[in-house]
């Protein structure tokens, strides 16, 4: 039996933990942005186009953080 954990086990655990923890904040953020955006459209239906554009942009920025976490998880697992 080796001393400590093998590299493969640590790689798997680290990669899974990275994406799990890293996706919590972006998920909450996207939910927040969506809810505020829909609320704004509900209050002022005329501004729907502008609000929608800004909302999609903000969601893209928030999702990028989750993608960073995913890329790190993939690098840890496969490289």
């Amino acid at each position: 039996m080796e001393n400590g954990l093998s590299l493969e086990i640590v790689q798997t655990i680290a990669s899974a933990a990275t994406i799990t923890i890293g996706a919590i904040a972006p998920a909450v953020a996207i939910g927040w942005i969506g809810s505020k955006g829909v609320e704004a459209i509900g209050r002022n239906p005329e501004s729907a186009g502008k609000v929608q554009t800004s909302m999609i942009l903000a969601i893209a920025f928030a999702e990028a953080i989750a993608i960073y976490a995913l890329v790190i998880a993939l690098i840890v697992k496969f490289v």
Partner: protein
């Protein structure tokens, strides 16, 4: 089931290595060139079906650009770059979903010694080099547009603002932010496309029939959304660069 983060090299042109995603992006470019030629064959005032199709695409992109830039002249000036970005990225993303991409390949012996399958084709944006190139081109274009629109001195004053200590640090942060935007552009597109590929491989590995269908729909959707997001972000940065505050 082999997943490679980096695009695999499948050949050489002189001393330049050619990867499988490069090959697919060349195929996409040739496909787009043929489409563009086909669209320009018969242009009349009352559009035929073919012309209608291409006009719909151009109208969608033009309206998107207009809604972000809010200035007709600016839209006309910057439309070629953003439309090309959108059409190129969406073509690459969607061509990467065709059957045969990622599955038809050559059996090789990898460095560790066991046999792996090296696909001949791989989604164009699943290579970080490609998305990094698109991001660098876009950000350099944003800087050039900004300088061309409001002049070098005024544009430099956005980043090197000597009217106060706090404004100076904000300017330096903005400068760093430009480089961060390159990273974020490239990783957003790469991460989405590569993760989509990995997802499809894993699902097909687990359940070969019917179950991959909703994931194919997801990938179609993601391909379109990522192209749209890249384009809209480029437009927003252009708008920020050509404004004088």
């Amino acid at each position: 089931m082999e997943i490679s983060l980096a695009a695999e090299k499948i050949g050489h042109i002189g001393s330049l290595p050619v990867t499988n995603s490069m090959l697919l992006s060349w195929i996409a470019s040739i496909f787009l060139a043929i489409m563009a030629f086909w669209a320009s064959l018969k242009v009349s005032l009352i559009p035929t079906k073919v012309q209608n199709f291409f006009e719909a695409i151009i109208e969608f992109l033009y309206d998107t650009a207009n809604s972000v830039l809010e200035d007709e002249k600016a839209t006309r000036k910057y439309f070629p770059l953003v439309a090309t970005l959108f059409i190129f990225i969406i073509t690459n993303n969607w061509l990467g979903l065709l059957p045969g991409v990622g599955t038809i390949g050559i059996h090789e012996i990898s460095r560790e010694g066991h046999e792996v399958l090296v696909p001949i084709l791989r989604s164009g944006n699943a290579d970080l080099n490609m998305t990094l190139a698109l991001a660098i081109v876009t950000m350099i274009a944003v800087q050039v547009f900004g300088v061309a629109a409001i002049g070098t001195f005024k544009y430099a004053k956005k980043y090197f603002n000597f009217s106060g200590v706090i404004e100076f640090f904000v300017g330096i942060l903005e400068l760093l932010g430009e480089f961060a935007k390159i990273v974020s552009f490239s990783f957003r597109l790469f991460g989405n496309v590569f993760a989509g590929e990995v997802l499809l491989v894993v699902i097909a590995f687990l359940v070969a029939y019917i179950a991959p269908l909703p994931f194919m729909f997801l990938e179609l959707f993601v391909g379109f959304i990522q192209a749209l997001v890249f384009t809209m972000l480029a437009l927003v940065f252009i708008k920020g660069a050509i404004q004088t505050h």
